[in-house]
Symmetry: C2
Subunit: 301 residues, 2 copies
């Protein structure tokens, strides 16, 4: 019988991080470093910052970008938002219960401003240090969580999805979230489980075909179970790194994170840039299914 | 033509706080005191606490109840929760998108434990002081916001609903929320707009008949508009009084409040008791519609 998934014929010799295969969830140990370089005084972060990242899986840096830099990014976001309102483009993702735009992907290719941002030299020197090699942009997006009606993003490990659906072999990638508005603890900020980057939560259920078309609006597969989440939070607690516009959060690809809804009038908008090591380039998806589109998971340079 | 609402034949001489009448929202000034008594050294709260309440419309008191008192209340809540799981009783309110129990009303009548709680002498001496008279229980309920799936409560002034739907004439009532679990800023705590008790936000739209059957699950009328909410938050900001189990928040009937969703594993459960001045007893509803049931708005002693 002929497979409907050409990609499924590609066999992976070993899958260090199997998920969506078993009927029961499990938590296993990380098999990769978190910080890939040895610290030295010429690093662009301090030894304390490096150690904080290694232990907690994230690093918050206040005022990384200046107010005028933030202003430039906000104007570009506003421009792109207006342009995408009536767009049928797949890169424009809408809220699950309305046509409000929730995210625009691939902005490091479609916008000169965000392209320049993704090559920001101090940022790149930090990501190259943490990932221990040259890096490239695996994914970029701008997120807009409106006031009054902003919906939650449920808990997830990015790596679980990038591994299963995109074929990212190892945990050697990180996200940089840039706050374009002041963040408060009450307007649905990013919540992370500090330390959870050391645990890999295997999820249950097979991934349906073309899952990404729905999952970017509302995730249904690759969702960690309640018991595993309760266990992680019991072990490590929850942090909510918040600060002024221009602050950044760098976080490991496997840290468990999510955010609550936002009924306050204060909107939240962020730029996300995902850096992956050039030594960790994408393979065929571990699910055996066809790869997701280029705008979600870059395979070309 | 005969009215279908006998209550609508009762005319109110004056309505100081009209709402759901005009097509455009408005913000008008409060016409009543916030603290009805003059402070003296034998009051059960300090002068600073009294002044804080007057200015901000709420007061947070840490460790008002002891751990063993909290334990007793939690056990009773658990017992009532289990008993109500399959109940068709109107006092049991479920989540908008599931059959999970969200609130149980009228617990000061149906439970000896909560009956005793509502008569707690120090609590009553505070409420009598603030409201400047004897008080009675206008409403009581236990709320349970589960972990992982707890939904938001959108912004509202209790008084707006109690006035329009229940016929409460003046702003002379307050709620006491008792935390039965530790509250964090990330598990959907109560958010208040401190100072907003001084502003009355008139809402648009006429109230449908039997609105309460739906509104207790998901509010659709008596909802303040975005511009008014943005204006209030601009003026006053947002506070999230959180603390250990056993802490209480007393808040004015007209303060604007709400809460975000809760995707964390930490559930939240609270007891709410609403005290109203005996000099502020309910009249026919200002909407002209029939009164809501006794378990939501007490008319009998």
């Amino acid at each position: 019988m002929k497979s409907t998934h050409p990609a499924s014929e590609v066999q992976h010799a070993t899958d260090l991080y199997p998920s969506r295969i078993s009927d029961t969830p499990s938590i296993t140990e990380r098999r990769d470093p978190v910080v890939y370089s040895a610290w030295s005084p010429n690093c662009s972060i301090t030894e304390e910052q490096s150690e904080f990242y290694r232990r907690n899986g994230y690093l918050f840096i206040e005022s990384f970008f200046s107010p005028s830099e933030v202003q430039g990014l906000k104007e570009e976001l506003k421009r792109m938002w207006a342009a995408s309102r009536d767009s049928a483009d797949g890169e424009v993702i809408r809220e699950p219960d309305s046509d409000e735009v929730r995210s625009i992907f691939n902005v490091h290719r479609s916008s000169d401003v965000f392209k320049a941002l993704s090559g920001h030299s101090r940022l790149k020197s930090i990501t190259d240090y943490i990932l221990g090699s040259e890096t490239y942009i695996h994914q970029s997006r701008i997120n807009f969580k409106p006031g009054f009606t902003g919906k939650e993003f449920y808990w997830h490990s990015d790596f679980e999805t990038w591994h299963v659906e995109d074929g990212m072999p190892r945990m050697r990638a990180l996200s940089c979230s840039i706050a374009l508005e002041d963040n408060y603890h009450f307007n649905g900020p990013l919540m992370v489980v500090p330390g959870s980057q050391m645990d890999y939560v295997s999820c249950v259920g097979r991934t349906p075909d073309n899952h990404y078309e729905k999952s970017l609006r509302r995730q249904q597969y690759g969702v960690p179970d309640h018991d595993s989440l309760a266990e992680l939070v019991q072990r490590y607690g929850i942090d909510t790194p918040v600060g002024k516009a221009g602050s950044i959060v760098l976080f490991d690809c496997n840290i468990m994170h999510g955010s609550n809804s936002n009924i306050t009038p204060m909107p939240r908008s962020n730029v996300f840039i995902v850096y992956n090591s050039v030594e960790n380039k994408l393979q065929p998806p571990y699910s055996g299914q066809p790869p997701r589109p280029e705008f979600i998971a870059a395979r070309e340079d």
